[in-house]
Amino acid sequence: MSANGLPRLGSGAVVGLPRALLHYELYPFWRVLFERLGLKVVVSPPTTRDLIEQGARRSVDEACLPVKAYYGHVMALRDRVDAVFLPRLVSLLRGTYTCPKLLGLPDMVRHNVGRLPPPIILDFDETKRGSGLGDAALALGPRLGRTGRQASEAVKAALEALGVFRAALWAGLSFEEAAARATQGPLADRPGGGPSGEALRPPVRPTDWREPAALNGRPRVALVGHAYNIFDPGVNLDLRRKLVGLGCHILTSEMLSHEEVQAESEAMPKEIFWSSGRRIMAAVRRFRRAGFVDGIIHVISFACGPDSMVGEIAERETRRESALPYMVLTIDEHTAEAGLVTRLEAFADMLRRRRRKTGGEGP
């Protein structure tokens, strides 16, 4: 440990990123940032049942599945890295917070996961001046012994990658596609290399979800929920693939642009103050009005605090103001695969029947 509480990491040292929680919102940013600071990045392996079980054993029972999975991912990194990155993500958007559990997460990990490699703990808080994503990341460079110039170049590139990543998600790409687009190419190939320029911004796929083509009777299902519940097949029991297998076309709450989220949110009497909750709420409202969405599935973690509130408002509002089928899927480490499949099949069947009845062959 150096004097400032961060581990000493020379060029080429390996830093580990747990593939869980807000990894699914920020991964390209972290990857490019650390690589540009001359470090190697290792991401923990994909979530498995076993990994979740390992994490759950270290966690209090009351914690939610994503937090238990996070523990498991940190454990999976233990013997492979020189340092593990445990960001404290307080707020990613002014006027919002993430979740109380995420505010305490680095401490929970630190005190419960044994044999932890030296942690890099850093607070990111948009509600505080100078502590937002870019500013806090800027402070990291010098604290790791890099020059100010290196630090600012790294942050610039990282923010650029994040921009590409988000634009790709908003256009409807999957997490993997969007992440690859943001981190591959000139950027990752040449850590410390020159500005990336146009190569970083290949044209976005033209099939924007906002202008849907006909689907030949396949129902359009909107999956809403935290990015980590929507994107991590190990956590959500491969929900997306199951739905696609049932002939559904999938939209997700991650496809709304920041502006779309804000526009929906500001129309509410009181805006949701959880960043992810605000997006979920906005997505439900946006998809409800879209006219071409056949049903909404809200994926929530068992005993999730924010979801219990946001989900309740969203569901009641939807039932009152529309006839749109709305299903809440509660998942935890004990969720049975068979039960889930049965529910999804029933839901998809119902959507198809409704489609036929309303003659809905259009978009």
Partner: protein, 386 residues
């Protein structure tokens, strides 16, 4: 306009005092009971926190008695309390109740918004009248907390339990009925004296707002247990299954880290009062810092910091109470075992909800108190006798 609000311990006395002093008609909901809880649980989201469910039961009970306006506090996060109002409004609306919600948010820049709401509630009373009413209400809040503090110190000293509680009940009624600041203070002082006398302690007692002094009694200095946790669960005996009484009757002196009067000072009052409090807050924060380096909403940071402080004050143990699914307290409960190990302090976390059985709690408390007694005995006779 008939105004109601949710229960939390004896807080209704304070709120009723303030509103009635301003000429507002008040409907106090029936005391929380199995029935109100059942109503609340039936209509609330499954994973909502327990206080939200209890609130719903209270509101429905009050609406059935004629209330048409609900006053509650709001918030800006990070925890759920700040969104209670929206969710509760949705629930009541879908049930067909037409109650208006007046949400008092802690001032955040726009103080005028808060004033507007108060003006609305009071039919445009001048601000000086509002301040007077708040002063009056504050006096009652403080008096009630003093009575509670006297009770938890006296209970373990009683040969036959019940006398102190009866004196406390009478004193609470006297404070509730007191017609002015002076009368409230008198009722407070007389009440505190009566409660203490019931325990035969007769010791001089001064409210330092701090931990109990460990009044010596016939059985030596009682075991001392600090209570930390989420404020509603700490302050509402129905929710915590009468935790303080149970412990008191087992001969344990209980201290609550956070009284409602403290919470009001920290969360609702203006900056001048907050400043006085800041020193205490920073002590708690600093005590928590080896374990938790950031606030986590609710009382999560306090639960950790206060536990450390109890250890420094030589307490025998700490009980941590929280509602099931409570996020800040899940953070705290993840850290408390290590705090306990480091400081050699027994800490027990109780996550309670509508499914928690009484028998289970009694057994756990007994086991915990036994453990503390054994440790005390082992630690040597020197400390155990006076």
């Amino acid at each position: 306009m008939k105004v109601t609000f949710a229960h939390m311990g004896n807080l209704w006395i304070t709120v009723k005092t303030i509103l009635e002093d301003l000429g507002v008609e008040v409907v106090v909901p029936p005391r929380p009971s199995r029935r109100s809880l059942e109503v609340g649980v039936r209509h609330s989201p499954e994973f909502a926190c327990f206080p939200l469910k209890m609130n719903i039961g209270d509101y429905i009970g009050a609406i059935e008695r004629g209330a048409d306006t609900i006053v509650m506090v709001g918030g800006v996060g990070p925890c759920r309390l700040g969104h209670y109002a929206q969710v509760q409004a949705e629930i009541l609306r879908d049930l067909g109740y037409r109650a208006e919600m007046v949400i008092l948010e802690p001032p955040r820049g726009h103080f005028s918004a808060l004033l507007d709401k108060i003006r609305y509630l009071t039919g445009g009373k001048p601000i000086s009248r509002v301040v007077r009413a708040l002063r009056f209400g504050w006096e009652k809040l403080y008096a009630l907390d003093c009575l509670d503090r006297a009770l938890v110190r006296t209970r373990p000293l009683e040969a036959v339990p019940g006398g102190a509680a009866a004196a406390h009940r009478r004193a609470v009624a006297a404070v509730a009925g007191a017609a002015g600041v002076e009368a409230t203070r008198r009722a407070r002082d007389e009440g505190v004296a009566a409660v203490l006398a019931a325990g035969g302690a007769g010791a001089a007692w001064e409210d330092d707002g701090e931990a109990g002094g460990g009044l010596p009694g016939r059985n030596g200095t009682p075991l001392r247990v600090g209570i930390v946790g989420e404020i509603f669960m700490v302050a509402e005996p129905f929710a915590n299954q009468d935790l303080e009484r149970r412990l008191g009757e087992m001969g344990v002196e209980v201290t609550r880290a956070l009284y409602v009067s403290d919470w009001v000072r920290i969360n609702l009052l203006l900056d001048t009062l907050r400043l006085r409090r800041r020193s205490r807050q920073s002590v708690v924060k600093e005590a928590a810092s080896p374990y938790l380096g950031h606030f986590v909403g609710g009382e999560g940071l306090e639960s950790v910091g206060e536990t450390v402080l109890y250890s420094r004050q030589g307490y025998d143990g700490v009980i941590h109470v929280a509602p099931f699914t409570c996020m800040p307290e899940i953070v705290a409960t993840s850290l408390l075992p290590e705090v306990g190990r480091d400081l050699d302090l027994p800490v027990m976390s109780l996550f309670l909800d509508e499914h928690s059985g009484e028998a289970g709690l009694a057994t756990r408390l007994e086991a915990f108190v036994d453990l503390l007694a054994r440790r005390r005995a082992r630690a040597g006779a020197g400390r155990a006798t006076r």
